[in-house]
């Protein structure tokens, strides 16, 4: 079991979700997050005073999958989220120790699907 965490551009979210739907990957959690990369965010100006280090708005997508779904999930995200510009984001894949379905008490790969 893996947990796939993707940090993507907010405006691309709809495309990514559609692409995941097409690959029959339906379970996901989406949250609004702030962050920045090597460009160190952006500068804002209030009454002439520069506030540096302003964070950029990003969307964080979390999907728990069984091992044989990892490759197609990642490629679905990359194919839809890639614009080729700086700031497209990153995908992290981490091992998932255990999973419980609260309603039934099922565990492991059964619970994820």
């Amino acid at each position: 079991m893996k947990l796939i965490i993707a940090i993507i551009q907010p405006h691309i979210l709809e495309d990514v979700l559609k692409s995941l739907d097409e690959k029959e990957i339906y379970l996901r959690t989406v949250s609004n997050v702030l962050g920045c990369g090597r460009q160190k965010g952006r500068t804002e100006v209030y009454r002439g005073r520069k506030e540096t280090g302003g964070m950029l708005k990003k969307v964080r997508l979390e999907i728990a999958v069984n091992d044989d779904f990892v490759r197609r999930t990642v490629s679905a995200i990359i194919n839809s989220a890639k614009t080729g510009n700086i700031g497209d984001g990153k995908i992290f894949v981490v091992n998932l120790e255990e999973c419980f379905r609260i309603r039934t008490g099922e565990t492991g790969p059964m619970a994820i699907g």
Binding site: E44, V45, Y46, R47, G48, T52, G54
Partner: protein, 411 residues
């Protein structure tokens, strides 16, 4: 002789000026602070409305407008509004009930200490704020108000022109604001941590309400529904627009982008500067006032303040103090008897004496405000402290001073 049209207009104007404090100032300042301090900041505007409404009736009006004592203050004869009734007071406003003049002036007394709150935002203890506001209204506002507007007041007798309170309201509060910023000291982390405004739409709403209310402030100061009110109305709107455009133009040229916060700030600066001048100047002069004050206040707020690194948090001094002084002096340049026969001609229109009187008025009000505000702050600090403790400043004043939060994390 009471005139119903005049009475209607001044009643309406009183309500408009009330609206400038809460919601106008409350939203304007509330949006500029961080989210942990929005309620405590709005509370200061709301509270001053309640507090000074009572102070004014009990003794404030008497000290400001009551029978003259030595040309510097009113006597206590009108305490509790004794003798202030429906019969007009011919010295102040011959066509409306004296009580209405009192109510209109009450709203000016309310907003003036409210303006100062921008200087000590996000760090002043609420209890100290209450005492300071009451003392400041009594010992700073009421005397200066008497000098300029009270019958027998020494600046009024010298012929200083202050149509709607450039010196009485904006110079006194703006200069006192600087003293507050210096005595209280900077907010923790000022200059090191980002402190961006938490909700600019609130600020824009507040600025627009201020602009709207300012018609009551300036055009209402004609104290009648007449030509003078119309003239003041036009000058007010014109200066606000010109100053906002100027501010945004400077930003566009100097920083790269015009901002709506800049536009709103510029508009308020324009309104401040035209306050003493409205009713004495032509629309073209009002444009000039707007452009000049836009340049001057932008420099004060965006250049001088950053260089000197004092924390006038919401620019109460930079906009009201600097803008008020600019307006008072420009009135000495641009006033015209053609606009208002009861006024005077400024330097540009051939009278060199007015500018000096205007400058003297500003100097006197500024010096007196600095001295008394300094003393009040030192005394209050000795008895109860002015600032919240560091850990309360970090947690925010909403939760530590009032035990409530503006925005909850969950529904």
């Amino acid at each position: 002789m009471i005139n119903s049209g005049d009475t209607a207009w001044v009643l309406m104007s009183s309500a408009l000026v009330m609206m400038m404090t809460a919601p106008g100032l409350a939203f304007f300042y509330g949006g500029l602070v961080r989210r942990k301090n929005v309620l405590s900041t709005m509370m200061q505007s709301f509270f001053v409305l309640c507090l000074i409404s009572i102070q004014w009736i009990l003794w404030g009006y008497s000290l400001s407008f009551g029978p003259d004592t030595g040309h510097v203050i009113g006597s206590l004869a009108w305490c509790g509004l004794k003798g202030v009734g429906m019969a007009p007071n011919p010295d102040y406003a011959p066509t409306i009930p004296h009580l209405l003049f009192m109510a209109y002036q009450m709203m000016f007394a309310v907003i003036t200490p409210g303006l100062i709150t921008g200087a000590f935002a996000e760090r002043m203890k609420f209890s100290a704020y209450v005492i300071f506001t009451l003392a400041w209204a009594t010992f700073v506002y009421d005397p200066i108000c008497h000098w300029v507007w009270g019958t027998g007041g020494w600046l009024r007798s010298m012929g200083a022109l202050d149509f709607a309170g450039g010196t009485v309201v904006h110079v006194s509060s703006g200069i006192s604001a600087l003293v507050c910023a210096l005595i209280l000291g900077n907010r923790r982390g000022y200059g090191r941590e980002p402190m961006p405004p938490h909700n600019l739409p609130l600020t824009i709403l507040g600025a627009a309400l201020l602009w709207f209310g300012w018609f009551g402030f300036n055009a209402g100061s004609a104290l009648g529904a007449n030509e003078l009110a119309v003239s003041a109305f036009i000058a007010t709107n014109t200066a606000a627009a010109a100053a906002a455009l100027t501010w945004m133009y400077i930003e566009w040229k100097m920083v790269g982008k015009p901002t709506i916060l800049g536009g709103a700030t510029g508009a308020v600066a324009g309104l401040v500067a035209v306050t003493p001048a409205a009713g004495f100047v032509s629309p073209i002069s009002a444009i000039l006032i707007g452009v000049v004050v836009g340049l001057v206040c932008y420099t004060a707020v965006a250049v001088v303040k950053l260089k000197l690194a004092y924390d006038d948090s919401l620019d109460a001094f930079g906009v009201h103090g600097v803008g008020g002084i600019t307006g008072a002096l420009l009135t000495g340049l641009l006033a015209q008897k053609i606009i208002n026969p009861a006024g005077n001609n400024g330097l540009i229109f051939g009278n060199s004496s007015l500018l000096g009187v205007q400058a003297l008025g500003v100097l006197a009000a500024a010096a007196y405000s600095i001295a008394v505000t300094f003393i009040l702050l030192k005394v209050i600090n000795a008895f109860m402290g002015l600032r919240v403790p560091d850990e309360e400043e970090v947690a925010g004043l909403d939760i530590t001073q009032h035990e409530e939060s503006a925005y909850t994390l969950l529904d």
